[in-house]
Subunit: 255 residues, 2 copies
Amino acid sequence: MKPLILVTNDDGIDSRGIRHLVEIMNHFGEVVIVAPDSPQSGMGHAITVGDKLRLVKSDLFDNDLSYKCSGTPADCVKIAKHHLLKERKIDLIVSGINHGSNSSISVLYSGTMSAAIEGAIENTPSIGFSLCDYDPNASLSHTGPFIKKIVQNALQNGIPDSIALNVNIPAVSNENIKGIKVCKQANAIWEEKFDKRYDPYGREYFWMVGNFVNHDNDPDNDESAINSNYVSIVPCKFDLSSNKGQDYLKKNWKI
Amino acid sequence: MKPLILVTNDDGIDSRGIRHLVEIMNHFGEVVIVAPDSPQSGMGHAITVGDKLRLVKSDLFDNDLSYKCSGTPADCVKIAKHHLLKERKIDLIVSGINHGSNSSISVLYSGTMSAAIEGAIENTPSIGFSLCDYDPNASLSHTGPFIKKIVQNALQNGIPDSIALNVNIPAVSNENIKGIKVCKQANAIWEEKFDKRYDPYGREYFWMVGNFVNHDNDPDNDESAINSNYVSIVPCKFDLSSNKGQDYLKKNWKI
């Protein structure tokens, strides 16, 4: 039987990245699309609390089941799993292709990866794919062979329980990419500046402008891999517990 | 010199929880408030991308610096750190008191905890406080002694770098709480149902209704502690890398 594959993203159902991903996934199984009806970049692991959700059929795809949802990427996974496909077993959830890198610390802010992590929470093998190019018109054609190889491995060799894969693909042509590397998350951050302006009514407002800063030169991290022209895969868990933190508090705190 | 303490939350600047927390924190140092101007529950680690931010003085508090921000809890921390207080060193960030539990998997969906984790990313000792009672009118008076003890320890004995503390306080009166326990995150999930309705125009919409399910009976996890009437502290990291996941892929995948 063909695997059942759910495709979602955070750039919205009409973005080029998800259309490219659906085309690739159609070779692997029965594809169901549930994606946000509006851009959801930077939504992190947000869910819709205290408000309604809409789920409306989309005619952007030839697939029988393709829907746009008014919620976040995590909502899309939840409504697909517990409403639309609740009688069936989803074999794989793929999210993306995101227009922009989700490497290192960006995994926390990423709607693309929150959909994949929600999949892992729900005990479904899940992968987020991102292209390290923020231009929504960037070339996607070189991503195909790498996505195919990764999806093939996921379907044949599995992903451990409670783990979602964060895949980032360099923004260069296929022939220049050296291969695929399993990595850890680089310890980098976004340093923000706030660009103050005034609206026509004299009230101030701000644009948040982030500058990516990486001081982590470990060759085994995802930033190093991408900068060396490898596709990076970081297996991500959602148990945030820190053993080091527990030990420190037990030893040093007086509670 | 008195410590500089930033207070934020996700229920919004006018909620009872943050007012209670500010009152407590005023005993410890100079308190600056930057909190969302609207409820942000369930916002996870969302940040405002591609839209403006407002930061407007609030007169709800006697503190010199109290502001409401149009963004998410993580935005509040960023604009406080990199704009409002950019010339100063913040000694502690506290977020809450959240009206509702953020134990176990809820840490991922929680705006309260995303503010604390953003603080840890920015290298500032950070704590999220939540009361395990979703009633916005729930009694908060019993939380004071525990919050004070935890803040005292954080200021005197420190929190390790890159770690934020997730504190959950049972919803019972002070004399019944047995103490404070350092814990790990319980492996529980929210199982959703979607309640379908029709609007006056005949179009369907959904309410997402979550049911908390915990099969993890480890006595060292936060759910067990809370259910045994302890205040739980889970030290949380933001490096999601899974060593187990890396080992599995390196051994079993053909890439």
